[in-house]
């Protein structure tokens, strides 16, 4: 197998007369690129990571077999970071640099935020209101579902209003879901399907899911959406996507009102300046901040687009709560790598006010093949070990909202530099008491289900041992007031008239729904706004 990450692309020089320069080829950047290129704009996308061509089975084997390294080559000198908060933040486990971005290894869960998520301050006096409402975003959510090819069913009584069916039929519930269903019925907990960016039937030239069981971190069949789809379409429409192009700073004009160049370095050591009329930052909730801060100038000593001083502040995550154990019968886990049932029944509760959603896992407990490759024996002894370990595990997960707090932030660690000599991002993050209380509530509901089902609970992840779901949000927040926010309701910087930010860094609050559908919806809306400025 050839290496998937190479420097095959040789011409990484700037595009002359570009209308739009986009930094980052993840879902946000790729969707904006596709939309604008399709409308006739000259678009260039600068991506720090490689283009992972070649056989996706290489990543599959790296994932399953110990000793082959990480599937997406994250964690080298390029990706240095500092974690300085009370809770260690494992940044490189939660992002991918490359064409496709973090959708290369994402799980593919795509829910809309709820109406209340856009107005938490008004409704509950916590967090912040978004400058836009669910109604404003609703048509873009529908368009995003079509773009990503979402498989879903209109069977969730707690979901926000929608006007159309999902583009693809939902994946039917698993056998494991049927075990939960009996207990949840008795507890009056409503289970429903999970919107999934994964083909339940052929769509957009990609295969339906065949069940490799490795969705996160890799889908060898191509059934799971990755932003490579939009990159490909953008390129077909004329966009130029440059990989291994590490943008190191943005330069502005003398008046300080416009960005005039994105300065990037390529593997040959050359540094280039890409000029354009409009600039879109789409490199995630951590690197967006880093790039703005690295772009400090005499006029903007605190970094670009940061006259408010809030760039990097209000870093938010979704926290995981979980519980699992064993049942007295087969549970049929690890056939697929995605979930087919959740409950959003408790999402809009006001006590706790933090959003929370509960998941019924289809991948509880060990996978025999993975265990075998780590075992310290073989033959009949191994067979017995594997057969005993597999078969009766069952578990629930949950995501819990973390509200925006100034003491959770991303900044530059000026003491530490990457291999190009640029200061690395510093993530300062901890889990506050309010979030801990919401995690405890998630555990309480999970415990009631486990008890009703008769599960012998073996593990709990809750307030004291929770971890992040790798959703980087809030660090370039959206708002109407330039003194307290970084971008406006259109995702355009308050300070620089041609600088836009796409992605979850603009979320003023993050709810407890996986963020990518909202990222896609905002990106479609942003592309429309830029289109409106084109001659």
């Amino acid at each position: 197998m050839m290496s998937t990450s190479n420097h095959a692309q040789t011409d990484r020089t700037p595009v002359s007369d570009a209308d739009v320069c986009i930094v980052g080829a993840g879902p946000a950047g790729a969707i904006v690129a596709q939309r604008l290129a399709a409308s006739g704009a000259s678009v260039v996308v600068l991506e720090a990571g490689p283009r992972f061509d070649g056989d996706r089975r290489e990543q599959l084997e790296r994932h399953v077999r110990p000793g082959l390294g990480t599937p997406w080559e994250m964690g080298g000198p390029r990706d240095e970071f500092t974690s300085s908060g009370e809770s260690f933040y494992p940044l490189n486990a939660g992002r991918v640099k490359g064409v496709g971005g973090t959708t290369l290894h994402w799980q593919g869960m795509v829910m809309r935020l709820h109406e209340r998520d856009f107005e938490l301050d008004s409704r509950h006096g916590v967090g912040a209101d978004w400058p836009i409402s669910y109604t404003d975003l609703k048509p873009y959510y529908a368009a995003a579902e079509r773009e990503l090819g979402v498989a879903g069913a209109v069977d969730n009584p707690y979901a926000p209003p929608r006007d159309e069916a999902y583009p693809l039929p939902a994946f039917p519930p698993s056998y494991s879901d049927s075990l939960f269903a009996e207990a949840c019925e008795r507890l009056e907990i409503d289970m429903h399907s999970v919107p999934s960016a994964r083909n339940s039937e052929p769509f957009d030239g990609r295969s339906p899911c065949v069940g490799y069981g490795t969705c996160k971190p890799v889908c060898p069949s191509g059934a799971k959406y990755t932003a490579e789809s939009h990159v490909e379409k953008a390129e077909s429409a004329g966009a130029r996507v440059v990989d291994h192009a590490r943008v190191r700073r943005l330069e502005h004009d003398e008046s300080g009102t416009s960005v005039v160049a994105a300065v990037y370095t390529t593997p040959d050591g050359e540094t280039h300046r890409q000029t354009a009329d409009e600039y879109v930052l789409a490199c995630g909730g951590v690197e967006n901040v880093r790039l703005l801060l690295l772009s400090a100038s005499d006029q903007y000593p605190d970094g670009l687009a940061n006259s408010s001083g809030v760039v990097g502040q209000y870093f938010m995550e979704h926290l995981f709560a979980g519980m699992g154990g064993r049942l007295d019968r087969p549970t049929r886990q690890n056939h697929v790598g995605f979930n087919t049932s959740e409950t959003h029944q408790f999402y809009d509760d006001s006590e706790p006010v933090n959003g929370l959603k509960l998941e019924f896992l289809n991948y509880a407990g060990p996978s025999p093949v993975v265990d075998a490759l780590h075992a310290e024996t073989w033959g009949d002894e191994l067979r017995t070990q594997l057969a005993d370990a597999y078969g009766t595990h069952i578990a629930m997960g949950a995501l819990v909202e973390q509200l925006p707090r100034a003491d959770n932030y991303v900044t530059l660690d000026t003491e530490t530099t990457d291999d190009l000599g640029d200061p690395v991002p510093e993530v300062h993050w901890s889990v506050d008491d309010q979030t801990r209380a919401a995690l405890a509530r998630a555990n309480e509901i999970q415990a009631s289900v486990m008890d009703e089902l008769g599960v012998d609970v073996e593990w709990t992840v809750g307030p004291d041992n929770t971890g992040p779901a790798f959703h980087h949000m809030g660090t370039t927040r959206m708002g109407t007031d330039p003194e307290t926010s970084v971008v406006d309701g259109e995702c355009r910087s308050h300070d620089l008239q041609n600088l836009w930010i796409a992605g979850s860094s603009v979320f003023p609050t993050g709810g407890a729904m996986n963020p990518t559908l909202t990222i896609a919806a905002l990106s479609l809306r942003l592309a429309e706004s830029i289109q409106g400025r084109m001659p």
């Binding site: 197998m1 056989d55 996706r56 089975r57 290489e58 599959l60 084997e61 399953v64 077999r65 110990p66 000793g67 082959l68 994946f171 039917p172 519930p173 698993s174 056998y175 049927s178 339906p208 899911c209 065949v210 069940g211 490799y212 069981g213 490795t214 060898p220 069949s221 087969p330 049929r332 690890n334 056939h335 697929v336 790598g337 087919t340 289809n362 996978s367 025999p368 093949v369 993975v370 075998a372 490759l373 075992a375 310290e376 024996t377 073989w378 033959g379 009949d380 191994l382 067979r383 594997l386 057969a387 597999y390 078969g391």
Partner: protein, 187 residues
Amino acid sequence: MRLTRRDAIAVLAGLGIVGGGAVAIDRFDPPTAESDDGDRDDIPQAVVVSTMVAAGEVVYPSETEGIREFVEAYVLGRTRDEERGAQLRAAAAELDAVARDWHGEPFSDLPRDERDSLLRELGADTADPVADGTLSERIRFHVVNELLYAFYASPTGGRLVGIENPIGYPGGTESYQRATTAETEDG
């Protein structure tokens, strides 16, 4: 429980080595004593295959039948990748050389329990799998784990421990709704 070449080809297909096993099998020259010239620069495929088959008889459950056909097909498909193939061949040859040094016989001629002991004495049971590591690490990676992956990522091997569509094998959407393990190979 019987493994077949078809099982091996299915695992290879999951790894993207489509058709590789079948083509290689057609070209396979059955092992003969004459073809084993012991030249490390050109390790005879017969030594590699017989050593891997003999190791398979150790690391697979004792009830397994059809190991030779299965391992032959898997190894021949696997070694089509030049770099991995060279490393696998070298690791198998080194295991065979250790057997000759310590016991005066090829690894494949040793009784099963002696093969088991030899692998454990080499530390292949506890070593980390490292493709270009120490001898123990390489034997763990290229011999033990290669064989275990082939076995437990196949529906037939997976079924033996309760899952007919193991992680890494494309078939889970056919089985995730079922209450019981499918007995047939329709995956």
